[in-house]
């Protein structure tokens, strides 16, 4: 008997043919989000080891789908010396994920997320010195804080104060309603895949996709505002330079409630390391409606390959079934729309 109304199905944790980590081919739901919250505990454990930065980079902490490092290398813009696609672009196809944490806390990526500390079930270890955790994603200004105008800071603080126990619809994180993650938050969530074509770079995120147009066409008309905005890019040596317009500003930056408006303009630089193993995402955000000055976001990203263990978080690609011996990674369907509910620790679903 088929149901006329879809029943929320959480298609998580099915075993794949290789018997490796379970694949998370999921519909994002509160259950999975709670797992994500659990993952946020890991940096606290990782930091207690107080591993030196380089050691952290070379021997990342592993655990419940977590990869965390407390510092990361700068990558200079330079000519590209690595592999190229048939169309001549630097070949950056494959599977990637950020290395410092998810969207739980924008300016203190390993500092836990709002409502976590003191909440039932939360691990309330002392955080320790700020220097032991990954730096703020705000790399400019130097204080690591978003240069909000006063009204915008108040709005962000209102979200933060109400995240765990939302009383108004705007306190609910849009991602919990399956919204696309937007710019720049998509780089603070699960791993993602890059596919390249002569006129496009395609980013397939866990929640939503971005098409980077390389063919020089103009941006969409200004009246059109989108969750994942409108992207025009070109390559400069090892750097994919992307101009982002038409953002609707609705996705927020994280569970700490930072945001920009539909007046934002973002200049992104994806600076790839020569060996193709890492890139730094460096984005300058300008929005005179919300901020007092432009500011820069930096997010470190690493590549995942067949040599990595699938971890259900940063690296979710599965191994294709085929007759050959080589490992072929493939991405499973990512769709999310039926779990329209409230969110936050203790946040009850809302109608």
């Amino acid at each position: 008997m088929r149901a006329a109304t879809p029943t929320p199905t959480i298609r998580t944790m099915h075993s794949n043919t290789t018997g490796r980590w379970p694949a998370v081919s999921k519909h994002l739901g509160p259950w999975l989000a709670l797992l994500a919250m659990g993952a946020c505990q890991l940096p606290l454990q990782a930091q207690q080891a107080a591993a030196p930065a380089q050691a952290a980079a070379s021997a990342p902490a592993r655990g419940m789908g977590s990869h965390r490092e407390t510092s990361f290398p700068a990558i200079a813009s330079a000519p590209w010396t690595g592999a190229r696609t048939a169309a001549g672009q630097p070949d950056v196809e494959g599977h990637w994920s950020n290395t410092i944490g998810n969207h739980g806390n924008f300016t203190d990526p390993q500092g836990g997320q709002p409502g976590q500390r003191g909440a039932p079930g939360a691990t309330n270890r002392p955080l320790g010195a700020r220097e032991q955790r990954a730096p703020s994603r705000v790399s400019d200004p130097a204080d690591g804080q978003v240069p909000f105008q006063p009204w915008a800071r108040a709005a962000q603080q209102d979200f933060l104060a109400n995240f765990s126990n939302p009383t108004k619809p705007q306190h609910i994180e849009p991602l919990a309603r399956c919204a696309p993650n937007g710019v720049p938050k998509s780089f603070m969530w699960h791993g993602f895949e890059v596919r390249q074509y002569p006129d496009y770079v395609l980013f397939l995120f866990d929640s939503g996709s971005r098409v980077i147009h390389l063919d020089g066409k103009p941006h969409l008309p200004e009246a059109i505002k989108l969750w994942n905005a409108d992207s025009r890019g070109h390559w400069e040596g090892n750097t994919l330079v992307v101009d982002v317009a038409n953002a609707n500003g609705k996705a927020l930056f994280g569970r700490t409630g930072e945001f920009f408006s539909d007046n934002a303009h973002v200049s992104e630089r994806y600076i790839f390391q020569a060996d193709g193993k890492r890139f730094n995402y460096v984005a300058t955000i300008t929005d005179p409606t919300v901020f007092t000055r432009p500011f820069t976001v930096t997010i470190p990203v690493r590549r995942y390959t067949a040599a990595d263990e699938q971890d259900g978080w940063n690296f979710q690609a599965t191994r294709a079934t085929h007759k050959g011996k080589e490992v072929i990674l493939e991405r499973e369907e990512q769709l999310c729309f039926e779990n329209n509910g409230g969110f936050g620790l203790g946040g009850a679903p809302t109608k």
């Binding site: 088929r2 149901a3 879809p6 399956c178 696309p180 147009h213 989108l226 609705k250 072929i328 369907e333």
Partner: protein
Amino acid sequence: MNHRFTYSKCRSRVSGLLLALACVLPLASASAWAGGTQSAAIKIPRTADGKPDFSGIWQTTSNADFDLEPHAGRQDAPPGAGAVEGDSIPYLPAAFEQKKKNFEARLSNDPRLKCITPGVPRSVYTPEPFQIFQRKRDLTLYHQFGGNVRTIHTNHTQHPAEPNEWWLGDSRGTWEGDTLVVDVKHFNDVTWLDRAGNYHSDALHVVERWSYLDANTIAYKATIEDVKVFSRPWTIDVILHRHREKNFQIIENYCFTQPYEQFYPPKPPVEGAP
């Protein structure tokens, strides 16, 4: 949820005479549409390795999504001659009763109204554009409606041995001459096939055939098999047209976000307000 299904393979890798037939048959049907044009004379986009290159933005002009079967115009649908070979869908008796219930409730129960992905093959004839990005190893179908992404693998990989129930199924394609043949299965039972309540179960198995009629037109066929719902396999035919408007692009339409978009982002204070 894990489900294992046993399917009778209606397609396997073919060779020799079979391959020759497989190459000729789609061309024969294509020529019926194209007024007898010989495919050898058709100049179509090709990839570096000589396969047809379906890269581009495509959309049907048919009314298939309103009702796959022939129908006169009605309040919720323009008229359409249907897109089903033989006109009618061969339902099993009990399934036909369900289809009639779906039809009666179509204005509230069509999953499209909740912005749920149209599934396969409906996503192909949904009246919104989709873009095909093509590599040697796969084709990526990026649909405007819902922002759905389907990968058709063309690298000789097989359906997973322990599949999930996917909204868009699991798509494995092979080239038979200039026709891309795609075997799609491992679906859930949530999506419908059109706005008129035609539906399927989780036993749905689709074999798609994609071939060029000319450089800007694709002949698309989908053979539908579902032993829980239909008495025999049946086939949908639609034509897809390339969007050639200047600077045309997919404009994301996640659709399901619309009810809550009003709540974000925070708004600046209005000047002059108390």
